[in-house]
Amino acid sequence: MSKFDNKLKTLDEALAVIPKTDSVIMMGGFVGAGEPTCCIEWLIQNKISGITLITNEPGLSGFGRAMLYKNGLVKEIISSHVGTTVESTDEYLKGNLKVEQFYPMGTWIEKVRAGAMGLGGALIPVGVGILDEPGLFAELKEAKTVIEVNGVKCFVEPPLRAPVGLVKAWRADEMGNLEYRLTSMNCNAMVAMACDYTIAEVEEIVPVGTIPPERVGTPAPFVQAVVKGLSLKEHDEIYRQHWLKIGKLVPEK
């Protein structure tokens, strides 16, 4: 597959790579921000079930990723949290959502980075003496190896990769270079590098050469497909209405 040929695809073409059941999908986003919302819609419409979702936290109630749990499509979440949405909490407490790999956020992103950058894993001092307290986390996956390096005890955390990655960026050129906008990069750029087949949902598609090389957040060779999502205006409006509804924004007189 060419590292820099035209990667523009329809949702159907790009997401066809996802198996109907028991897929492993890594997804970008931070709570409700920078989520590939149209790809999520597609997963729901096409009833892609039994998903193992590798994602920083479950998302924002009533929004994007939360709809995946609502529709019972996710069987396991590998994340730093399970309670940021009502929907994931529901599935979790009913025993429909397995949470075995549960990490501090810094550990989660370093495991993804180890997968992205071909490292053997990550050495993480955070949580030693807490997450490995015997019995405290019986149901959590417990094989927590601890080694000492220069006097510092740290967990040996294996890398995280996935066959399919869904990320959100502001814009892309046809070759697959991605540019992120303001605070919406979050973990998207790292997820994009940690998957064998990365699909980027963007608000705008621009000719090659438009994105200044210094502003490329994910270089084209890391991306296998680019799909058009909602426009920037639509996104801004959706968020503004949501914030007004939940009182995070004061309506202007």
């Binding site: 931070f30 709570v31 409700g32 921000a33 920078g34 920083n56 936290e57 924002l60 994340s79 730093s80 949290h81 399970v82 309670g83 940021t84 909490t89 979790y92 407490l93 025993g95 949470v99 549960f102 990490y103 501090p104 956020m105 810094g106 550990t107 992103i109 370093e110 980075r113 001092p125 955070v126 949580g127 003496g129 807490i130 405290l136 986390f137 149901e139 959590l140 502001w170 906008r181 303001l182 605070t183 919406s184 990069m185 979050n186 973990c187 750029a189 790292m190 920037l232 996104h235 801004d236 959706i238 968020y239 503004r240 914030w243 007004l244 995070k248 924004l249 004061v250 309506p251 202007e252």
Partner: protein, 220 residues
């Protein structure tokens, strides 16, 4: 004065000029409204911002300008945006001077528990970035109501819930009192207006000594 406002106001007094600060969700976020005069700090947002500014107006708000709770933000002059790994690295490596965190329980060893309660035999809701914060940040200030709804003390000898940080808390601020964390014992420094030492004793499970300077919270 509303208990939560009191706590937020008193917590804000701990902040000093030039510090890089992370305010946890809920009560601590209010502290940004009560910065003492002349104190200028830079606020960190976990999703990758140094220099979070005041809330935007509806027309200013943007889908791509949010904090760690996906709330709309503006950026202060000199702000910087970074990816998640760098933001969490800054927390882990101790670049932040102080963090004000909510807590379910704190104890006299400076332990803090704020990420999990037992629901249907499962730990819920989740760790997020709090453990990284407690690990790396030089000064951890815990803010919580002194006792739970049934009057049980949250200022304990030893936390019962899964910990977020071990021996990391330096200051505990509640609706009743302010403690410093000493060597395996708390030091009672201040009481909230109208709160007596006896009431604090009744409501505090942890061992504590009373500082000579013990007196009323000075909420300018």
């Amino acid at each position: 004065m509303d208990a939560r406002v009191l706590i937020a106001k008193r917590a804000a007094m701990e902040l000093q000029n030039g510090q890089l600060v992370n305010l946890g969700f809920g009560m601590p976020t209010q502290a940004s409204n009560y910065l003492p005069d002349g104190v200028k700090v830079m606020f960190h947002a976990e999703n990758g911002v140094f220099g979070v500014g005041p809330k935007p107006t509806a027309s200013e708000a943007k889908a791509d300008m949010t904090n760690a709770g996906s709330e709309p933000i503006t950026l202060a002059p000199g702000a910087a945006i970074m990816d998640l790994a760098t933001s969490l690295g800054a927390m882990r490596t101790g670049l932040l001077d102080v963090t004000i965190l909510g807590a379910l329980e704190v104890d006299q060893l400076g332990n803090i528990a704020n990420w999990a309660v037992d629901r249907n035999g499962k730990w819920w809701p989740g760790i997020g970035g709090a453990m990284d914060l407690c690990y790396g940040t030089k000064k951890v200030i815990a803010c919580l109501m002194h006792a739970d709804k049934s009057g049980e003390s949250k200022i304990m000898k030893k936390c019962t819930l899964p910990l977020t940080g071990k021996g990391c808390v330096s200051t505990i601020i509640t609706d009743k009192a302010v403690f410093e964390v000493g060597d395996k014992v708390l030091i009672l420094k201040e009481h909230a207006p109208g709160v007596t030492l006896d009431e604090i004793k009744r409501l505090t499970d942890a061992d504590f000594i009373v500082a000579e300077t013990f007196g009323e919270m000075k909420l300018d």
